[in-house]
Protein backbone atom coordinates (compact mmCIF):
# COMPACT_ATOMS: atom_id res chain seq x y z
CA UNK A 1 0.00 0.00 0.00
CA UNK A 2 1.38 3.38 -0.95
CA UNK A 3 1.61 5.49 2.18
CA UNK A 4 1.27 9.04 0.98
CA UNK A 5 0.17 10.21 4.41
CA UNK A 6 1.15 9.64 7.97
CA UNK A 7 -1.61 9.64 10.52
CA UNK A 8 -1.27 12.76 12.63
CA UNK A 9 -3.60 14.29 15.16
CA UNK A 10 -5.18 17.57 14.27
CA UNK A 11 -7.55 19.85 16.07
CA UNK A 12 -10.44 22.08 15.17
CA UNK A 13 -8.20 25.12 14.81
CA UNK A 14 -5.95 23.35 12.32
CA UNK A 15 -8.97 22.29 10.27
CA UNK A 16 -10.14 25.89 10.22
CA UNK A 17 -6.69 27.03 9.15
CA UNK A 18 -6.69 24.41 6.38
CA UNK A 19 -9.98 25.76 5.10
CA UNK A 20 -8.78 29.36 5.50
CA UNK A 21 -6.05 28.55 2.99
CA UNK A 22 -8.58 26.80 0.75
CA UNK A 23 -11.05 29.69 0.62
CA UNK A 24 -8.38 32.39 0.44
CA UNK A 25 -9.00 33.96 3.86
CA UNK A 26 -5.40 33.14 4.78
CA UNK A 27 -2.87 34.64 2.39
CA UNK A 28 0.15 34.68 4.66
CA UNK A 29 2.84 32.61 2.90
CA UNK A 30 4.21 31.10 6.10
CA UNK A 31 0.80 29.83 7.21
CA UNK A 32 0.06 28.48 3.73
CA UNK A 33 3.29 26.46 3.80
CA UNK A 34 2.48 25.25 7.32
CA UNK A 35 -0.94 24.08 6.15
CA UNK A 36 0.38 22.38 3.00
CA UNK A 37 2.97 20.57 5.10
CA UNK A 38 0.20 19.44 7.44
CA UNK A 39 -1.88 18.21 4.48
CA UNK A 40 1.02 16.03 3.36
CA UNK A 41 0.86 14.24 6.72
CA UNK A 42 -2.82 14.27 7.68
CA UNK A 43 -5.20 12.19 5.60
CA UNK A 44 -8.31 13.68 7.24
CA UNK A 45 -7.35 17.28 6.52
CA UNK A 46 -6.19 16.34 3.03
CA UNK A 47 -9.67 14.95 2.28
CA UNK A 48 -11.38 17.97 3.87
CA UNK A 49 -9.25 20.36 1.77
CA UNK A 50 -9.59 18.41 -1.48
CA UNK A 51 -13.35 18.07 -1.08
CA UNK A 52 -13.70 21.80 -0.54
CA UNK A 53 -12.13 22.34 -3.97
CA UNK A 54 -14.28 19.61 -5.52
CA UNK A 55 -17.40 21.40 -4.28
CA UNK A 56 -16.19 24.70 -5.72
CA UNK A 57 -15.27 23.04 -9.02
CA UNK A 58 -18.81 21.85 -9.64
CA UNK A 59 -21.18 24.83 -9.39
CA UNK A 60 -23.49 23.15 -11.92
CA UNK A 61 -24.60 20.77 -9.15
CA UNK A 62 -26.13 23.69 -7.23
CA UNK A 63 -28.80 24.01 -9.89
CA UNK A 64 -29.34 20.27 -10.26
CA UNK A 65 -29.94 19.77 -6.55
CA UNK A 66 -33.60 20.12 -5.73
CA UNK A 67 -34.55 22.58 -3.04
CA UNK A 68 -36.92 20.78 -0.69
CA UNK A 69 -37.66 23.78 1.52
CA UNK A 70 -41.10 25.31 1.31
CA UNK A 71 -40.55 29.07 1.29
CA UNK A 72 -43.42 31.49 1.78
CA UNK A 73 -43.21 35.29 1.87
CA UNK A 74 -45.91 37.57 3.23
CA UNK A 75 -46.37 41.28 3.62
CA UNK A 76 -48.82 42.66 6.14
CA UNK A 77 -50.94 45.27 4.42
CA UNK A 78 -54.47 46.51 5.05
CA UNK A 79 -54.74 44.30 8.08
CA UNK A 80 -54.14 41.10 6.10
CA UNK A 81 -51.29 38.78 5.24
CA UNK A 82 -50.56 39.31 1.56
CA UNK A 83 -48.56 36.51 -0.07
CA UNK A 84 -45.66 37.89 -2.11
CA UNK A 85 -45.89 34.91 -4.45
CA UNK A 86 -48.84 32.60 -4.74
CA UNK A 87 -48.60 29.06 -3.44
CA UNK A 88 -50.97 26.13 -3.44
CA UNK A 89 -50.05 25.62 0.22
CA UNK A 90 -51.69 28.91 1.25
CA UNK A 91 -55.39 28.55 1.97
CA UNK A 92 -57.39 31.40 0.41
CA UNK A 93 -58.58 33.82 3.13
CA UNK A 94 -62.25 33.06 2.48
CA UNK A 95 -61.73 29.42 3.28
CA UNK A 96 -59.41 29.94 6.20
CA UNK A 97 -60.99 29.62 9.59
CA UNK A 98 -59.82 32.77 11.29
CA UNK A 99 -59.54 33.00 15.02
CA UNK A 100 -60.99 36.46 15.29
CA UNK A 101 -62.36 38.90 12.78
CA UNK A 102 -60.23 41.99 11.97
CA UNK A 103 -57.06 40.24 13.06
CA UNK A 104 -54.63 39.41 10.25
CA UNK A 105 -54.29 35.66 9.93
CA UNK A 106 -53.18 33.16 7.35
CA UNK A 107 -53.38 29.39 7.06
CA UNK A 108 -50.95 27.09 5.37
CA UNK A 109 -51.46 23.42 4.57
CA UNK A 110 -48.53 21.11 4.09
CA UNK A 111 -48.46 17.35 3.48
CA UNK A 112 -46.48 15.33 5.99
CA UNK A 113 -46.30 11.57 6.54
CA UNK A 114 -49.53 10.84 4.71
CA UNK A 115 -51.56 13.51 6.46
CA UNK A 116 -51.84 17.28 6.33
CA UNK A 117 -50.24 19.72 8.73
CA UNK A 118 -52.11 22.97 9.07
CA UNK A 119 -50.21 26.04 10.20
CA UNK A 120 -52.18 29.04 11.36
CA UNK A 121 -50.37 32.34 11.79
CA UNK A 122 -52.13 35.10 13.69
CA UNK A 123 -50.88 38.62 14.07
CA UNK A 124 -50.69 39.21 17.79
CA UNK A 125 -49.83 41.99 20.13
CA UNK A 126 -46.56 43.98 20.14
CA UNK A 127 -46.03 43.25 16.43
CA UNK A 128 -45.43 39.59 17.21
CA UNK A 129 -47.23 36.58 15.79
CA UNK A 130 -48.66 33.38 17.18
CA UNK A 131 -48.17 30.16 15.25
CA UNK A 132 -50.47 27.20 15.80
CA UNK A 133 -49.78 23.87 14.19
CA UNK A 134 -52.55 21.31 13.77
CA UNK A 135 -51.74 17.75 12.94
CA UNK A 136 -53.29 14.29 13.44
CA UNK A 137 -50.04 12.69 14.50
CA UNK A 138 -49.42 13.40 18.17
CA UNK A 139 -45.80 13.32 19.24
CA UNK A 140 -44.39 15.10 16.18
CA UNK A 141 -41.80 17.64 17.24
CA UNK A 142 -41.83 21.07 15.68
CA UNK A 143 -38.67 23.16 15.94
CA UNK A 144 -38.82 26.90 15.57
CA UNK A 145 -35.79 29.01 14.71
CA UNK A 146 -36.05 32.73 14.53
CA UNK A 147 -33.65 35.51 15.47
CA UNK A 148 -32.23 34.48 18.80
CA UNK A 149 -35.00 32.01 19.55
CA UNK A 150 -34.90 28.25 19.32
CA UNK A 151 -38.01 26.50 20.59
CA UNK A 152 -39.44 23.03 20.43
CA UNK A 153 -43.12 22.17 20.63
CA UNK A 154 -44.57 18.67 20.55
CA UNK A 155 -47.92 18.04 18.91
CA UNK A 156 -50.30 17.02 21.65
CA UNK A 157 -54.06 16.51 21.22
CA UNK A 158 -53.57 17.45 17.58
CA UNK A 159 -51.96 20.80 18.27
CA UNK A 160 -48.69 22.60 19.01
CA UNK A 161 -48.18 26.32 19.45
CA UNK A 162 -45.56 29.05 19.51
CA UNK A 163 -46.56 32.39 21.00
CA UNK A 164 -45.07 35.87 20.60
CA UNK A 165 -42.80 35.00 17.71
CA UNK A 166 -40.83 37.90 16.26
CA UNK A 167 -41.61 38.74 12.67
CA UNK A 168 -38.95 38.32 10.00
CA UNK A 169 -37.65 34.99 8.82
CA UNK A 170 -39.07 32.03 10.72
CA UNK A 171 -37.90 28.51 10.17
CA UNK A 172 -40.14 25.59 11.14
CA UNK A 173 -38.60 22.14 11.09
CA UNK A 174 -41.16 19.36 11.23
CA UNK A 175 -39.48 16.41 12.97
CA UNK A 176 -36.31 17.64 11.20
CA UNK A 177 -37.72 15.98 8.09
CA UNK A 178 -39.35 18.97 6.43
CA UNK A 179 -38.33 22.60 6.50
CA UNK A 180 -40.76 25.48 6.08
CA UNK A 181 -39.40 29.01 5.86
CA UNK A 182 -41.88 31.79 6.42
CA UNK A 183 -40.83 35.38 5.85
CA UNK A 184 -43.17 38.03 7.20
CA UNK A 185 -42.50 41.67 6.42
CA UNK A 186 -44.36 44.17 8.50
Amino acid sequence: MIRAHLQVDCNDEMQEKVLGVADGTISDEKTIQEVLEHLSMCKECFALYDNYFLLMEHPELDEQIEDDILSLDFNIANNTFVPVTSSTHIIPPLVAVLAQPDVPAVEIEYPFKGSIIKIRIIYGTNHNIDISIYCNNDGIKIYLLNGSRFDIATVSNGMAMFSSVEMGVILLLIDFKKVIRIHINN
Binding site: M1, I2, R3, A4, H5, D12, E13, Q15, E16, K17, L19, G20, V21, A22, D23, T25, I26, I32, L36, E37, L39, S40, M41, K43, F46, A47, L48, Y49, D50, N51, Y52, F53, L54, L55, E57, H58, L61, D62, Q64, I65, D67, D68, I69, L145, N146, G147, S148, R149, F150, V169, I170, L171, L173, F176, K177, V179, R181
Partner: protein
Protein backbone atom coordinates in the same frame (compact mmCIF):
# COMPACT_ATOMS: atom_id res chain seq x y z
CA UNK B 1 -49.49 47.06 43.80
CA UNK B 2 -49.23 43.60 42.28
CA UNK B 3 -49.45 40.33 44.19
CA UNK B 4 -47.37 37.38 43.04
CA UNK B 5 -47.84 34.39 45.35
CA UNK B 6 -47.25 35.69 48.85
CA UNK B 7 -45.20 38.69 47.64
CA UNK B 8 -46.53 42.14 47.01
CA UNK B 9 -44.64 44.30 44.50
CA UNK B 10 -45.04 47.94 43.66
CA UNK B 11 -45.23 48.92 40.00
CA UNK B 12 -41.85 50.73 40.16
CA UNK B 13 -40.32 47.66 41.76
CA UNK B 14 -41.60 45.51 38.90
CA UNK B 15 -40.39 48.03 36.30
CA UNK B 16 -36.87 48.03 37.74
CA UNK B 17 -36.91 44.22 37.81
CA UNK B 18 -37.98 44.17 34.16
CA UNK B 19 -35.19 46.60 33.28
CA UNK B 20 -32.71 44.39 35.13
CA UNK B 21 -33.82 41.30 33.18
CA UNK B 22 -33.61 43.19 29.87
CA UNK B 23 -30.03 44.29 30.65
CA UNK B 24 -29.16 40.76 31.77
CA UNK B 25 -30.64 39.34 28.54
CA UNK B 26 -28.53 41.78 26.50
CA UNK B 27 -25.39 40.82 28.43
CA UNK B 28 -26.09 37.13 27.80
CA UNK B 29 -26.70 37.79 24.11
CA UNK B 30 -23.48 39.82 23.85
CA UNK B 31 -21.49 37.06 25.55
CA UNK B 32 -22.81 34.46 23.11
CA UNK B 33 -21.98 36.64 20.10
CA UNK B 34 -18.56 37.58 21.44
CA UNK B 35 -17.66 33.93 22.00
CA UNK B 36 -18.54 32.97 18.46
CA UNK B 37 -16.66 35.87 16.78
CA UNK B 38 -19.91 36.51 14.96
CA UNK B 39 -22.44 39.28 14.91
CA UNK B 40 -25.31 36.82 14.67
CA UNK B 41 -26.78 34.27 17.02
CA UNK B 42 -26.50 30.54 16.18
CA UNK B 43 -30.27 30.57 15.56
CA UNK B 44 -29.95 33.39 13.01
CA UNK B 45 -27.09 31.57 11.32
CA UNK B 46 -29.14 28.37 11.07
CA UNK B 47 -32.02 30.29 9.53
CA UNK B 48 -29.71 32.05 7.09
CA UNK B 49 -27.66 29.02 6.12
CA UNK B 50 -30.32 26.28 6.03
CA UNK B 51 -30.28 26.16 2.21
CA UNK B 52 -26.50 26.09 2.18
CA UNK B 53 -26.44 23.24 4.73
CA UNK B 54 -28.88 21.10 2.75
CA UNK B 55 -27.21 21.84 -0.59
CA UNK B 56 -23.77 21.07 0.81
CA UNK B 57 -24.92 17.69 2.19
CA UNK B 58 -26.53 16.81 -1.14
CA UNK B 59 -23.58 18.07 -3.17
CA UNK B 60 -21.04 16.07 -1.16
CA UNK B 61 -23.32 13.03 -1.46
CA UNK B 62 -23.46 13.48 -5.22
CA UNK B 63 -19.75 14.17 -5.76
CA UNK B 64 -18.56 11.40 -3.49
CA UNK B 65 -21.34 9.00 -4.54
CA UNK B 66 -22.10 8.14 -0.92
CA UNK B 67 -25.60 6.88 -1.79
CA UNK B 68 -27.22 8.65 1.15
CA UNK B 69 -31.02 8.56 0.91
CA UNK B 70 -33.46 11.24 2.05
CA UNK B 71 -33.65 9.83 5.59
CA UNK B 72 -29.86 9.86 5.85
CA UNK B 73 -29.75 13.44 4.56
CA UNK B 74 -32.42 14.51 7.07
CA UNK B 75 -30.52 12.85 9.91
CA UNK B 76 -27.29 14.57 8.92
CA UNK B 77 -29.10 17.91 8.61
CA UNK B 78 -30.48 17.39 12.12
CA UNK B 79 -26.99 16.59 13.45
CA UNK B 80 -25.53 19.67 11.77
CA UNK B 81 -28.21 21.99 13.15
CA UNK B 82 -27.92 20.43 16.61
CA UNK B 83 -24.18 20.99 16.46
CA UNK B 84 -24.54 24.60 15.31
CA UNK B 85 -27.06 25.37 18.04
CA UNK B 86 -25.20 23.36 20.64
CA UNK B 87 -22.02 25.41 20.66
CA UNK B 88 -20.45 24.31 17.37
CA UNK B 89 -20.07 27.92 16.33
CA UNK B 90 -18.33 28.83 19.58
CA UNK B 91 -15.17 27.21 18.22
CA UNK B 92 -15.17 29.45 15.14
CA UNK B 93 -12.09 31.67 15.19
CA UNK B 94 -12.63 33.52 11.93
CA UNK B 95 -9.66 31.86 10.20
CA UNK B 96 -11.88 30.97 7.25
CA UNK B 97 -15.20 32.24 5.90
CA UNK B 98 -18.32 31.34 7.85
CA UNK B 99 -19.81 29.30 5.02
CA UNK B 100 -16.54 27.38 4.73
CA UNK B 101 -16.69 26.70 8.48
CA UNK B 102 -20.24 25.41 8.08
CA UNK B 103 -18.98 23.21 5.21
CA UNK B 104 -16.44 21.79 7.70
CA UNK B 105 -19.20 20.92 10.17
CA UNK B 106 -21.30 19.36 7.41
CA UNK B 107 -18.35 17.39 6.05
CA UNK B 108 -17.35 16.09 9.48
CA UNK B 109 -20.93 15.14 10.32
CA UNK B 110 -21.21 13.17 7.07
CA UNK B 111 -17.99 11.31 7.87
CA UNK B 112 -19.21 10.57 11.42
CA UNK B 113 -22.55 9.40 10.05
CA UNK B 114 -20.92 7.12 7.48
CA UNK B 115 -18.68 5.61 10.14
CA UNK B 116 -21.50 5.21 12.65
CA UNK B 117 -23.87 3.47 10.28
CA UNK B 118 -21.16 1.70 8.31
CA UNK B 119 -22.61 2.98 5.10
CA UNK B 120 -21.50 1.40 1.87
CA UNK B 121 -18.07 2.60 0.82
CA UNK B 122 -18.31 4.97 -2.11
CA UNK B 123 -18.37 3.34 -5.50
CA UNK B 124 -16.25 5.09 -8.13
CA UNK B 125 -18.66 5.67 -10.96
CA UNK B 126 -18.16 9.20 -12.14
CA UNK B 127 -15.28 11.39 -13.13
CA UNK B 128 -15.98 13.37 -9.96
CA UNK B 129 -15.09 10.40 -7.81
CA UNK B 130 -11.79 10.83 -6.08
CA UNK B 131 -9.51 7.86 -5.78
CA UNK B 132 -8.36 8.25 -2.22
CA UNK B 133 -11.58 6.68 -0.98
CA UNK B 134 -10.71 3.48 -2.77
CA UNK B 135 -8.29 0.89 -1.68
CA UNK B 136 -4.90 2.47 -2.14
CA UNK B 137 -3.65 -0.59 -3.99
CA UNK B 138 -6.13 0.16 -6.77
CA UNK B 139 -4.76 3.67 -6.92
CA UNK B 140 -1.33 2.13 -7.22
CA UNK B 141 -2.44 0.27 -10.37
CA UNK B 142 -3.53 3.54 -11.98
CA UNK B 143 -0.34 5.18 -10.93
CA UNK B 144 1.93 2.54 -12.41
CA UNK B 145 0.35 2.97 -15.86
CA UNK B 146 2.34 6.17 -16.14
CA UNK B 147 5.62 4.35 -16.00
CA UNK B 148 5.57 1.13 -17.93
CA UNK B 149 5.09 -0.16 -21.46
CA UNK B 150 4.42 -3.74 -20.52
CA UNK B 151 1.66 -5.63 -18.80
CA UNK B 152 2.36 -6.34 -15.18
CA UNK B 153 1.02 -9.57 -13.80
CA UNK B 154 -0.75 -8.09 -10.79
CA UNK B 155 -1.27 -11.55 -9.37
CA UNK B 156 2.47 -11.68 -8.81
CA UNK B 157 2.18 -10.40 -5.26
CA UNK B 158 5.89 -10.43 -4.51
CA UNK B 159 6.70 -8.22 -7.49
CA UNK B 160 3.76 -5.96 -6.68
CA UNK B 161 4.76 -5.54 -3.04
CA UNK B 162 8.32 -4.89 -4.09
CA UNK B 163 7.31 -2.07 -6.43
CA UNK B 164 5.11 -0.56 -3.74
CA UNK B 165 7.99 -0.73 -1.28
CA UNK B 166 10.26 1.07 -3.77
CA UNK B 167 7.66 3.81 -4.27
CA UNK B 168 7.07 4.10 -0.53
CA UNK B 169 10.75 4.42 0.16
CA UNK B 170 11.26 7.03 -2.55
CA UNK B 171 8.13 8.89 -1.42
CA UNK B 172 9.49 9.20 2.09
CA UNK B 173 12.35 11.30 0.72
CA UNK B 174 10.01 13.77 -1.06
CA UNK B 175 9.35 17.20 0.38
CA UNK B 176 5.75 17.96 1.33
CA UNK B 177 4.90 19.76 -1.92
CA UNK B 178 6.04 16.80 -4.02
CA UNK B 179 4.18 14.40 -1.70
CA UNK B 180 0.99 16.41 -2.22
CA UNK B 181 1.46 16.69 -5.98
CA UNK B 182 2.20 12.96 -6.17
CA UNK B 183 -1.01 12.15 -4.27
CA UNK B 184 -3.22 14.50 -6.25
CA UNK B 185 -1.83 13.69 -9.67
CA UNK B 186 -1.11 9.96 -9.49
CA UNK B 187 -3.56 8.71 -6.87
CA UNK B 188 -6.49 11.16 -7.09
CA UNK B 189 -6.11 11.91 -10.83
CA UNK B 190 -6.56 15.62 -10.43
CA UNK B 191 -5.60 17.80 -13.40
CA UNK B 192 -2.55 20.04 -13.29
CA UNK B 193 -4.82 23.11 -13.09
CA UNK B 194 -6.72 21.61 -10.15
CA UNK B 195 -3.46 20.83 -8.38
CA UNK B 196 -2.12 24.31 -9.07
CA UNK B 197 -5.12 25.80 -7.24
CA UNK B 198 -4.63 23.47 -4.33
CA UNK B 199 -0.90 24.01 -3.82
CA UNK B 200 -1.04 27.72 -4.72
CA UNK B 201 1.48 27.37 -7.54
CA UNK B 202 1.24 28.01 -11.28
CA UNK B 203 0.27 25.18 -13.62
CA UNK B 204 3.71 25.18 -15.39
CA UNK B 205 5.42 24.85 -12.00
CA UNK B 206 3.16 21.92 -11.11
CA UNK B 207 4.02 20.35 -14.47
CA UNK B 208 7.75 20.65 -13.67
CA UNK B 209 7.18 18.98 -10.29
CA UNK B 210 5.31 16.10 -11.95
CA UNK B 211 8.15 15.50 -14.41
CA UNK B 212 10.66 15.57 -11.56
CA UNK B 213 8.57 13.06 -9.56
CA UNK B 214 8.27 10.72 -12.56
CA UNK B 215 12.00 10.86 -13.13
CA UNK B 216 12.80 10.10 -9.49
CA UNK B 217 10.41 7.16 -9.31
CA UNK B 218 11.65 5.74 -12.61
CA UNK B 219 15.22 5.98 -11.40
CA UNK B 220 14.31 4.24 -8.15
CA UNK B 221 12.59 1.37 -10.00
CA UNK B 222 15.48 1.05 -12.50
CA UNK B 223 17.92 0.85 -9.62
CA UNK B 224 16.20 -2.32 -8.39
CA UNK B 225 15.10 -3.69 -11.77
CA UNK B 226 17.69 -2.55 -14.34
CA UNK B 227 16.37 -5.16 -16.79
CA UNK B 228 13.18 -3.11 -17.18
CA UNK B 229 15.04 -0.05 -18.50
CA UNK B 230 13.53 -0.35 -22.02
CA UNK B 231 10.01 -0.98 -20.74
CA UNK B 232 9.93 1.99 -18.42
CA UNK B 233 8.61 5.01 -20.25
CA UNK B 234 11.13 7.75 -20.79
Amino acid sequence: MVTVGNNVFSLTHLQSLLKYFKVWHLILLYTRLKDTMLDKTPEQICVEYIDFIIKTIKKINSIKNYKLDNDDINDIRQNVITKLLGGGLAQFKGLCKLDTYIYKIVYNEIQTYLRRYEKETPVPSTVLQSNYDQDEDDAYNNFFDYFHNFNIDYTDKIFRQDIIAIIDEELSTFDYIDKLIFTWFFLCKRSQIQIAERVKLSQPTVSEHIEKIKKRLRTAIKRKYPEFEKELKS
